[in-house]
């Protein structure tokens, strides 16, 4: 069992505090920075990005539209405007390249809430387990795509979607949306580890599918250096993705974390004192199926 009181100490000792929190800090900067871009307008009258994550217009020029919400709109019979189509194509291309769930770990504001809950769980030693399957999110996704077809209420999911609710709440007005956010926080803290993002959220499930063949991946190229401290499993929001890459050498499995559940958050890279993990391409690794891993590692690392 990993000792929670010393979690991350090895990495700090080996790499220093900043290097062992590098991607965590970058992710927070990304999440808050995106919010800031939307907020300079309403707060200071400096309009950089208008709208919200559902659809936005940057500098009165660049349209970006969330493919998931537009898909729901189209299922309820909408023909979108050209700007929305262009916006969707740009967003889709981006996430197809860098990984769909980059949305979850680098953009989505709810991630900060659920990360806080996960951090508190570790600090307080809460070990509740729930029976919720990680496939629930795909059922939820299916449900949210069927509802616009059968219910007259249109994009039904958007009535309760905590992701858009939180972002819209911050950029426009919160109303009672904080209750929803508090609910997710408590659910993740007390009921299930990574309960919302890792099990239920259909937005994440959608982006998961979008990025299922993404080019940017985390890999465990230095897996021989692994000292089995297990800390990566503890901090990872989708720990099931690590094992095949980290421990699959004997089975001939690729050191690349291929599961699209991986959110490319980089916490495993931060926490590892042995620098086992790094970002890299999906296909770069194929080469070293034929060569010695050690030789080529430095060449393919980004």
């Amino acid at each position: 069992m990993v000792d929670m009181t010393t979690l991350g100490d090895d990495a700090i000792a080996a790499k220093g505090w900043f290097k062992s929190h590098k991607f965590l800090i970058l992710r927070r900067l990304s999440q808050l920075g995106i919010l800031a871009l939307f907020l300079t307008g309403p707060w200071f009258g400096l309009w950089i990005v208008k709208g919200n994550l559902a659809s936005s217009l940057t500098l009165d020029f660049l349209p970006l539209t969330d493919p998931y919400v537009l898909l729901q709109a189209m299922l309820s019979g909408v023909v979108p405007e050209t700007a929305a189509i262009i916006g969707v194509v740009i967003v889709l291309l981006f996430y197809i390249l860098v990984g769909g769930r980059v949305y979850c770990s680098w953009v989505c504001p709810v991630n900060m809430v659920t990360d806080l809950a996960a951090w508190l769980r570790r600090k307080l030693g809460i070990r509740t387990t729930s029976q919720i399957s990680r496939t629930t999110r795909y059922w939820m996704l299916t449900l949210t795509l069927i509802l616009p077809l059968v219910v007259t209420g249109g994009i039904v999911w958007e009535l309760v979607n905590p992701v858009s609710m939180m972002f819209r709440g911050i950029v426009f007005s919160m109303g009672a949306a904080w209750i929803m956010i508090a609910g997710i926080f408590l659910f993740d803290l007390l009921v299930a580890k990574d309960g919302w993002c890792g099990h239920i959220c259909p937005v994440g499930a959608f982006y998961n599918l979008v990025g299922s063949k993404s080019l940017l991946k985390v890999n465990a190229l230095q897996r021989q250096a692994c000292n089995d401290c297990m800390e990566c499993y503890v901090v990872c929001p989708e720990p099931q993705v690590i094992k095949p890459a980290l421990k699959g050498e004997k089975k001939g499995l690729s050191p690349v974390i291929l599961s699209s559940d991986c959110t490319n958050c980089g916490r495993c890279i931060d926490i590892c004192a042995k620098d086992v993990f790094s970002y890299g391409g999906r296909h770069a690794i194929k080469i070293d199926e034929y060569k010695c891993e050690g030789e080529i590692n430095r060449g393919v690392r980004v």
């Binding site: 939820m140 249109g154 919160m174 929803m180």
Partner: protein, 285 residues
Amino acid sequence: MSESEKKNELNRRQFLGNMLKTACGVGLVGLGLGAYSNRASSMPANYVRPPGALPEEDFLGACIRCGLCVRDCPYDILFLGEVGDEVATGTPYFIARTGPCEMCEDIPCVVACPTNALDHDLKDIEDSRMGLAVVIDQESCIAFHGLRCEVCFNVCPIRGRAISLDMQHNTRSGKHALFIPVVHSDACTGCGLCERACILEEAAIKIFPMHLAKGELGKHYRLGWKEKDKAGESLVTPDTEHRYNLPEGVRYDLQGEGLIIEGEAEETPFSSNPLDTLNSGFMDK
């Protein structure tokens, strides 16, 4: 059955069981969401959608709750529904009494909409139908008391056509006129400027959604006189000329002011001009 087969069987059962549980759970969530969406698709009567908004049911399917219309409204009248509001979460609306639509000619809110939830075919703001103004309370509207107000008539951006003043007799004073505001649905856009301008504590003229403001004639109704005009003749029974049962030498013609006795004109000693009669006395003497 071998040990591994047993284990597989158990795994399969477990797998199917788990799947069934998940499906049931998500199904329940779906039922809840469906029921909630029905409730959430009703809107308070004083919430007005922006210009060009599709009919409510279609609107809720088309609006992706991005708030771009809110941002592009130069008068900042639009709000997004909050959780707990009686309007679908994240959808735009305005309240006429506090912030009516100023009817911009270039309709920026519609231009901003990425999904046609605000119909891009709306090019002329005067064609928009956000709702309909209704003079809802004749008891408090001071025009009905015979007082001059006409504020709603004067602030109307389609002045004279969307609201006209109907002059009526003031039966209280017996000698004055009432200037009654009358809304015409063929021109009123439902912008709400009249509602905001109404001088009363609580506006007597209010914007209502079309389905609340308007009645609808039964589809089978035909207005006889219009059908007659269209066909050129009565569709039911042929027109019969009305015959009056009058003595000889008398006829009836309303435009000629009622009963007319033929030949009477020559027999009367009086001129048709009363001044002649008055003046005649002087001439004789």
